[in-house]
Amino acid sequence: MKKRIEDLVVTGNRRLAESFFVIEATSAGVLPEILPGQFVQALVTESPSTFLRRPLSIHDVDRTSNTISLLVQIAGPGTERLSRLVPGVDKINLLFPLGNSFTLPSKGQRVLLTGGGCGMAPLLYLGRKISESGVEPQFALGFRNRSRILEHNEFRKLGTVHLATEDGSEGHKGFVTDLPVFRENDWDRVYCCGPEPMMKAVAASCRERNIACEVSLENLMACGMGICLCCIVPTNAGNLCSCTDGPVFNINDLKWQTSE
């Protein structure tokens, strides 16, 4: 897929719970085809301690307005600076679309999209694409507690949303893997993006139950284009780049050794 670099106009910047926000960035032209699971490399200007671009999943795509949205958590200076972008005034320079994509389900498959925190980011666009393909996605979203639950109306429009909070302050008490809906044995495909422990728990359970499962990894990246070889993931086929061979991986291909 042809990559491009473009200054998009920031047309929205909404604060969600806690340190999360959604940036809307609108192209003056026509957006290229974007696959679910792909990401952008965002240039952070005016941040003295941010040298490299920052990888961010594509949260949603609106083709009528040629707008990409990004769901971002403030993690450090780069994301902090992005959180202060002013709609209508600032631009954001994106290198995109990058990476591979999630595998869409076949007709009639039952699919569960699991995630938490900023890991929810790619799941909305994935859910939309799944829904457009005629399959109804379900979502299992996990949060620390009630006050950290992120807005998920857009998810609800696409399919049922199941909530888990670690302290039980809303939804089911526990992790996403503790949700009854997750434990049901009849998923054909499970997708996951979230903190590493969540992805590992989901992967372990899926592997056990022989469910096809894809995860989206958030390895440290320098280039995002397959040229620096910094973002490698040990797989059965050797070290692969998570920016070009990923960020989406089938759990059966991963070695997961990097993480402990």
């Binding site: 990559k3 440290l220 280039c223 284009m225 490698i232």
Partner: protein, 304 residues
């Protein structure tokens, strides 16, 4: 337009801007952004005789105006290169140079011999300066006797243009530039990365799996520039300058300090179009100042 052509040994380059090894893959990854025929050349990924998996993750850490990497020369080896990559490189209308790495003198000579047979590769860059591999690599670049041995050995078997890439992690860069010249290198390129490290205070661990790694980016530009200036005054063969070039102004600093050509490295990660932009910027500068060729400003600070 001013004449941008420069020469390294007998090899003429369209212009003095070259993509640096390890920061441009094999070029294909950048094709959406760069038309290779706009560039002087491209130095493809560090290549070794045998395939290498490289170092463990994490391999990079951001630092002030720079980054550390510990890739460790991950590549599929020369056999794979010859069969699967070389055929793709022939189509580029620019000089394609291979960055040659080894753990022993024999590694280097064997690999150089193999590449000498590849018709559309007019030059190699002998990397005696990789800080990210245990044996070999930097040892050759920081020990004068080893440097001399490996350069001499490669010169015997490799007939085309030989560029020696020097390590900045030395007390006296001119010593290594002189050894390269004495042993018949056509040019030296400098600098490779500075050996650095970073600590994650939260986990109290090094940020890189290898503890130390190679520092690149604008942070190292003043050191790189100084070494290029020193080297260019110490030898007659051309010096190719690199280290932190982010734009034409940076490239001009290197050229004015004595570099005949420059390489763009880490900048490509942030702005893949940096190298062609540098070409344009140099041309604009020469036009504005009424210089008819880029060679007019090579080493300019020593004259004006």
């Amino acid at each position: 337009m001013a004449d941008l052509r420069i020469k390294i040994g007998s090899l003429e380059f369209r212009n003095p801007v070259i993509l640096a090894s390890g920061t441009c893959g094999y070029g294909a990854e950048l094709e959406d952004f760069i038309d290779m025929s706009q560039l002087g050349g491209i130095i493809v990924k560090g290549t070794t005789l045998e395939p290498r998996e490289g170092n463990a993750y994490p391999r990079m850490a951001e630092t002030a105006s720079g980054m550390l990497n510990a890739v460790g020369l991950q590549n599929k080896g020369i056999d794979y290169f010859e069969k699967h990559i070389y055929p793709l490189l022939a189509r580029y209308d620019t000089h394609v140079i291979v960055n040659v790495n080894g753990n022993s003198v024999d590694d280097y000579t064997e690999l150089s011999r193999r590449i000498d047979n590849l018709e559309s590769i007019p030059a190699i860059e002998l990397n005696i300066s990789c800080p990210n591999v245990k044996q070999g690599g930097m040892i050759f670049g920081t020990n004068p006797a080893s440097a001399r041995e490996v350069i001499a050995a490669v010169r015997k078997v490799y007939k085309k243009i030989l560029i020696v890439k020097l390590s900045p992690n030395v007390t006296d860069i001119t010593e290594f530039a002189r050894i390269s010249e004495e042993e018949g290198a056509d040019a030296v390129s400098l600098v490779n990365t500075l050996l650095g490290m970073a600590v994650d205070v939260r986990t109290m661990k090094p940020k890189l799996s290898t503890v130390t790694g190679g520092l690149s980016g604008p942070a190292i530009k003043p050191v790189a520039l100084r070494m290029v200036w020193q080297a260019a005054r110490a030898v007659r063969i051309p010096v190719i300058g690199l280290g932190g070039i982010m734009n034409a102004g940076d490239a001009l600093e290197f050229i004015m300090a004595g570099a005949t050509a420059v390489q763009v490295g880490t900048a490509t990660f942030i702005e893949p179009r940096t190298a062609p932009q540098v070409v344009t910027g140099i041309a604009d500068f020469l036009a504005e100042k009424d210089f008819d060729s880029v060679s007019r400003i090579i080493g300019a600070i020593n004259r004006f």
